[in-house]
Amino acid sequence: MNFLSMLWCEILICFSRRRWVAAPLFAFVLAALVLADIGTRRWGLQPANQWDILLGVFNNKFIVVVLLPVVFLALVTDSITFDTEGRAHLTLVRLPSRAVWWWSKVGLMGAASFVYVSVMFLCVGFTSTPAVPLQWSWSRLVLLSGWAYPGGLPISHLHTPPPVIILKIFGLIWLGLFALGTAVATLGFITRYAIIGWIAGAVAVLVSYGTWSVWGPTLHLFLSAHREFNGGVPGSPTLWWSVLLDGAMLTASVLVGYLFTLRRDF
């Protein structure tokens, strides 16, 4: 009961912050950029539908590996550290144990990443509707543009219904941000400075993006899941390998944070 109360309280506090307005604004900007990009290509927007816009945003390596995490980290990196000074005196004594406090922080990170990714997908989808039609199946653009298709999917994926692909990408981005956000917030918690966590996270995703470009996906640590849907990268690491990597990073961060919570003086 205490855990759920604390988690709900954390969620209310997190989303009461004005900074979260940045999430939909960011999504609108990304959607507008992708619409403009497709619109200026050979076939234009005419044969496209909403799946092309969603894939244009969420299957773009730079957006997913660098931009989405950096903005997300700016929203949540201090969600643990802000609660460690004067506020901890107010919250901790209302809980039966420090463990409840820590697990609620982890839960918050899961909820925040889920809401963030949902807002991004919904806003991108919403922004695309005036410009392109809503359709259940792949658009004509996919067939017309072939390998130059801006969504970046390998041709083999076109046998899969688009909602399944989008749902997988959604889940993988969510898990990746959950894991990365937890790791970065935990680092901020341990060093006592959220900014250190944020800088470390931002550098990590940039390095990660760079290594992907140079050495291929096997060295890509963050949001590695995305690679399955990119035709231009080697196919050996699969979706499950990506889930495993992100799951391992999440588990390690959670355990380190838990042990630190038990020993830290508040």
């Binding site: 109360s5 309280c9 506020r87 901890a88 107010l90 901790l92 209302r94």
Partner: protein, 223 residues
């Protein structure tokens, strides 16, 4: 372990041989403290003597290097997920959320224990002279108003143990008198109160016992 609420056989607070260092500095050198329910114990000491640290240890925000603390029947130790005491607490600077009103800050805190209603929260604010209908964010509060809000959060859930760290800091003299009356009432209701201060004058009015914390050792003030 002693069950919560079993007052007939237990102290509200029992600290035995508590030693605590911060970095290389040995701050508390074997603290022994017993506080009964319905008793007000004042701890006097200069700034930096370890008064705040002692309160943090008593409620579980920090753990002792040596010694044993039982607060409200709970053994304060890192085992079993890091036990915390169920107390009302006011430490130096309560970290209220600056962008929310005083009422919303207290409502969020009250959600954690779920022992009181919104009406109780509003009543606690009125008790300390704050208007629950005041929609201003806490960042617009004066130092004295924040301190009153801190007192309100400490007492609103009617805790049986109250730990107050220099609670009269920033309070205006008029309200200080009301605050002391409130402490008397709480003591009459059986609440155990540990109160730290560096002002001897104010604690003599209410305290049943006055202890001095000097050089890491707790002793009778007159002793």
């Amino acid at each position: 372990m002693i069950k919560n609420g079993d007052r007939s056989r237990s102290y509200a607070i029992e600290a035995t041989g508590v030693v605590k260092s911060l970095g290389q500095n040995l701050i508390l050198k074997g603290i022994n403290l017993r506080v009964n329910y319905g008793e007000v114990v004042a701890i006097i000491g200069p700034n930096g003597s370890g008064k705040t640290l002692l309160l943090r240890l008593l409620c579980g925000l920090a753990y002792p290097d040596q010694g044993r603390i039982i607060t409200g029947g709970r053994v304060i130790e890192p085992k079993a997920g890091g036990a915390l005491a169920d107390v009302g607490l006011l430490l130096e600077t309560p970290g209220f959320l600056p962008h929310l009103s005083g009422l919303n800050n207290l409502r969020l805190l009250a959600m954690l224990r779920q022992r009181i209603t919104d009406a109780d929260v509003a009543a606690a604010m009125r008790q300390v002279g704050l208007d629950p209908a005041d929609r201003r964010p806490v960042r617009a509060y004066s130092t004295g108003m924040r301190q009153r809000l801190g007192i309100a959060q400490a007492v609103m859930e009617r805790p049986q143990i109250l730990l107050l760290d220099e609670p009269t800091n920033g309070l205006d003299p008029e309200y200080t008198g009301e605050f002391l009356n409130m402490l008397r009432e709480l003591r009459g209701q059986g609440v155990a109160i540990v109160w730290t201060s560096h002002e001897m004058e104010e604690v003599t009015v209410v305290a049943d016992r006055i202890l001095a914390l000097r050089s890491g050792v707790l002793a009778d003030f007159n002793g």
